[in-house]
């Protein structure tokens, strides 16, 4: 399969993507205290990590191929469920990855 864009178009697209990454990440970090936010906004930012992770992770788990799949053809949700149950008792990234990937492999093997 070959890319639909020419080499120069691809390079331009890569530069544009890099610019969006750098400007979004660096903008407010570089601006520092020159930008002031309301107390309400500062307070809401405490919830940014959990909300961002949930918005990233939930579609990855339930939409493996771009559509909702709650059958056992999608081993991601039982794996994520097992990892979540473990994590509620015991915070371990390594444990969550190990248990999650094990359940993933087992469910894949069964279906």
């Amino acid at each position: 399969m070959s890319s639909g864009l020419s080499t120069s178009e691809t390079l331009l697209a890569v530069v544009v993507i890099a610019l969006t990454t750098f400007l979004t990440r660096a903008g407010l970090i570089v601006a520092g205290d020159r930008v002031r936010l309301s107390h309400t906004a500062e307070s809401a930012l405490r919830f940014a990590p959990a909300c961002a992770l949930a918005a990233l992770v939930v579609p990855e788990i339930l939409f493996p191929m771009g559509t909702l799949d709650l059958s056992l053809d999608n081993p991601r949700w039982p794996a994520a469920l097992a990892a979540t149950l473990l994590l509620l008792r015991h915070t371990s990234v390594t444990g969550a990855i190990a248990l999650g990937m094990t359940v993933y492999a087992i469910v894949r093997g069964l279906s």
Binding site: M1, F22, V35
Partner: protein, 220 residues
């Protein structure tokens, strides 16, 4: 950060493979991983590039996928007083999801801990090295990496491991559930706008929940 390395490595590897399999040359994939360094945005634009979508569609999709970094930067900003301008630029390139979340979890627990600037920069550099090594392996060995193992899911599990412990706080849990639900409903929205919508609506819901819970506690 160190327990998250297998997740970062798996995700970097899969992103490297995906770039080559979607039709990028090895050289172009190496340029992309080094200059863009944004896994979610890279994965979001690859199908568009393969389909020769207009440049502005590619740009807007990358921008929407990356808009959460504006929120991250806003949250980090009050903690970075000690950073020099070059350090801020370095962070602006390096700080993805993992260093941000780990740093925010640490300051939520310990407050303004000592050497936090060096801690964040060090974690970000370590995450970059692990990601880039894995991504280069994925690019060079794309045809040898088994995609059927679902390696990318290890990255998802690492992110899950960072969010679940925070759910013991009720407003955070409500916000995260709403954020996840909106991202799910908005999964097919243009330019990956469902992701940003989920984050913003989740944060607002968490704040409102906290205000309501707080008011009820006071009135008792």
């Amino acid at each position: 950060m160190f327990p998250a390395f297998p997740g970062i490595a798996a995700w970097g590897l899969v992103t490297g493979v995906a770039m080559v399999k979607s039709g990028l040359t090895v050289a172009m994939a190496l340029v992309m991983t080094l200059v863009a360094y944004a896994g979610s945005a890279q994965l979001a634009v690859l199908p568009l590039m393969a389909a020769a979508a207009p440049l502005w569609v590619i740009g807007v999709t990358a921008l929407m996928t990356n808009m959460r970094f504006v929120i991250y930067a806003a949250a980090l900003r009050p903690w970075l007083a000690a950073f020099t301008a070059p350090q801020r630029l370095a962070l602006g390139y390096l700080t993805g999801d993992f260093p941000f979340v780990l740093f925010m979890n640490r300051v939520a627990r310990d407050g303004p801990f000592g050497h936090r600037d060096g801690w964040l920069l060090g974690m970000s550099v370590a995450g970059w090295v692990v990601w880039q090594l894995a991504s280069v392996v994925g690019i060079v060995a794309a045809s040898f990496v088994p995609t059927e193992w679902g390696l990318q899911f290890a990255g998802t599990l690492a992110l899950l491991a960072l969010v679940v412990p925070a759910l013991k706080n009720a407003p955070t849990a409500v916000g995260a559930i709403v954020a996840g639900a909106v991202a799910l409903v908005g999964h097919g929205w243009s330019y990956r706008s469902g992701l940003l919508a989920g984050i913003v609506i989740g944060m607002i819901t968490a704040s409102v929940t906290e205000a309501l819970v707080g008011r009820r506690a006071v009135s008792r």
